[in-house]
């Protein structure tokens, strides 16, 4: 990966993201042309432009579609870099951001809010708050289980993640089967498969800034992430305080995935396949893997959300179904390709 190729790739992906987002705003029950989109955008940031857009178009673009599409980009980028970081942490190519229990913990929180009306004093924020709380609770338990003699063991981290996910899923399922509210059950199912429909300008600030912070923190530590991929012993001899660095990664990744899951449910597959796809293109150096993953994840989820809105319009498809349907076969194709090793170095 040369600097020039990297710059070109970043440029191309940025352009691709912009085009995808414009296109995503256009698509929907009310058709909108690109020129109107840019016109509305420019007028919102105070540039003097000719006003041809109707009030309805204004609202659809600015209040409904744009926040949603921006949230899609943020969530895609966040899940992709979280996946990349987790794969380095556990040195395991099948790891995704939810492997530490985030999504099952969040599901418990969300289900409690939807079915049992917990945290109702928080109003519209109850769902996000409970999901975030559940996510962090699950990770904390997993982390404590993985500590032995003051060290964090990777294999225990993975196994504790699986065990805690099972327990939390059982709690969610228990609440689901004992509930009599058909509407509520449907709402929980929808939430668990992920949806960006709730996006508003007021709710995308936290995911955006959390993403920005975690992205910068990870990028600043790209050397350590690279060293981690080489193995514990080598990372240690390169001067890395393994335990401290692991705790740091768990902390920032859980924070980011917790926030993301709270805002849009647990959208699967993005955090697993995007890092692999990126490594196939740019190699394993995290200096390149992180920014490219963020952009690819963003583009991918913008498209996935577009399909989710369009596929069975006017109904909405949960986005998790789209990511799995597109992601699964793609993953299998990658699996069959002989050139990409999935990290086992064959």
């Amino acid at each position: 990966m040369t600097r020039l190729r990297f710059t070109l790739l970043i440029g191309a992906l940025l352009a691709g993201l912009l085009v995808s987002m414009t296109f995503a705003v256009m698509v929907g029950s009310v058709g909108i042309t690109p020129s109107i989109i840019w016109e509305v955008l420019f007028s919102k940031i105070g540039l003097p432009v000719e006003a041809t857009a109707s009030k309805a178009q204004n609202i659809i673009i600015w209040e409904i579609r744009l926040p949603r599409i921006i949230l899609a980009a943020i969530v895609g980028a966040a899940l992709a870099i979280s996946g990349a970081a987790i794969q380095a942490l556990v040195r395991n190519p099948i790891a995704d951001p939810y492997i530490l229990g985030v999504s099952s913990g969040a599901s418990v929180g969300a289900t409690m809010v939807i079915l049992l009306g917990a945290f109702s004093f928080l109003g519209t924020y109850a769902l996000s708050f409970a999901a975030f709380l559940g996510a962090i609770l699950a990770v904390v338990i997993v982390f404590l289980l993985a500590r032995v003699n003051g060290r964090t063991s990777v294999i225990r981290l993975l196994l504790a993640g699986i065990a805690i996910s099972m327990v939390f899923s059982a709690i969610t399922n228990f609440m689901l089967v004992t509930s009599k509210q058909q509407g509520g059950i449907q709402a929980v199912m929808h939430w668990m498969l992920g949806s960006l429909a709730g996006a508003k300008w007021s709710t995308i600030g936290i995911p955006f800034f959390t993403f920005l912070l975690v992205f910068l923190l990870l990028l600043l530590n790209y050397r350590q992430l690279n060293a981690l991929l080489l193995g514990e012993e080598l990372a240690t001899t390169l001067g890395i305080n393994l335990d401290r660095f692991r705790i740091f990664i768990i902390l920032v990744v859980s924070l980011l995935t917790g926030v993301v899951v709270a805002s849009s449910g647990s959208i699967g597959f993005v955090g697993l396949i995007i890092p692999h796809l990126v490594r196939m293109i740019v190699g394993s150096n995290y200096k390149f893997v992180l920014p490219i993953s963020a952009l690819m994840g963003a583009v991918f989820l913008v498209w996935a959300d577009m399909v989710a809105r369009m596929a069975i319009a006017p109904e909405e498809m949960p986005i998790g179904i789209i990511t799995a349907v597109c992601g699964g076969p793609f993953f299998i194709w990658m699996l069959r390709r002989r050139r990409y090793s999935f990290g086992d170095g064959e």
Binding site: M1, L229, L230, E232, E233, T236, L238, N241, G283, G345
Partner: protein, 261 residues
């Protein structure tokens, strides 16, 4: 410069190292030899602080290594361990660049100096021609040399090698040993091949069942008597006519007997 004081190491139900003490001087090439399972690798891992001893101290320039930061240790000591990882795909030059990690602060870019050091290290380890290949495409021996180049890029005062000649053909064995011997730094190497140990090391530590059996020059340590005692084979000891270094021949104990008949 490096002092090992009363090091013991145990895992549950087994003591691996028994109260080992020795010290080594700057610029020497020190070989650690001994049968399989005698504790060579464990000893090295404790020196480079991957494992923590049960008791005892390792002192570097009179400082207790337990008080030093990982970063500082990595600037003083570079390690080529036995495992050559192949996980994920790094290019050779990216991998060698990782040797510069201990010198990097947050936000620091790879400087011109780093690139020069990396290039020089690759040249020394004879892997420059591989620089754009990925690790997965290399043979076992090439990987080993890449790991050596990475360790050289660390520019440490001490280089620790755990069986560096494994997987290498004879040409690259000698090439690597020559290269390492020329370096103006302290070398500590666990070696299996006693003839390599005899021809390159200034000093040998002979380990046996977790004890330091003997320490001395190759001539002092590699005698028929100690080899029989520790390795349980007969040895004939002569000189390599070309290098004037010790050369050892081995034969199983019962060979001589059957010929006597």
């Amino acid at each position: 410069m490096l002092q090992v004081k009363n090091i013991s190491f145990s895992v549950p139900e087994k003591q691996i190292l028994h109260d080992i003490s020795f010290s080594m001087d700057q610029g020497k090439f020190i070989g650690i030899i001994g049968p399989n399972g005698s504790g060579k690798s464990t000893m090295l891992k404790i020196i480079y602080r991957y494992l923590k001893q049960s008791s005892g101290q390792v002192m570097l320039y009179e400082n207790d290594m337990e008080q030093m930061t990982r970063k500082k240790i990595a600037q003083e000591m570079a390690v080529v361990s036995q495992e050559t990882p192949v996980l994920f795909d790094f290019t050779v030059k990216d991998l060698v660049m990782m040797g510069r990690t201990p010198y990097k602060q947050w936000l620091a870019q790879d400087s011109k100096e780093d690139f020069a050091i990396v290039e020089e290290s690759m040249k020394l380890a004879d892997v420059l021609y591989l620089k754009d290949r990925t690790l997965g495409q290399l043979s076992g021996g090439e990987k080993k040399r890449v790991m050596l180049a990475r360790a050289l890029a660390q520019q440490a005062n001490i280089l620790i090698l755990d069986e560096p000649t494994n997987h290498l053909d004879i040409e690259h064995q000698l090439q690597l040993m020559d290269l390492v011997k020329e370096l103006p730094i302290t070398i500590i190497a666990a070696l299996h091949d006693l003839n390599l140990a005899a021809s390159y090391c200034d000093e040998l530590l002979l380990m046996d069942e977790g004890n330091l059996h003997m320490k001395g020059t190759p001539e002092q340590v590699l005698t028929e008597e100690t080899i029989k005692q520790v390795f349980h084979v007969q040895a004939g000891i002569s000189k390599n006519p070309f290098t004037q270094k010790l050369h050892l021949f081995f034969y199983a104990e019962n060979v001589g007997r059957s010929e006597d008949k």
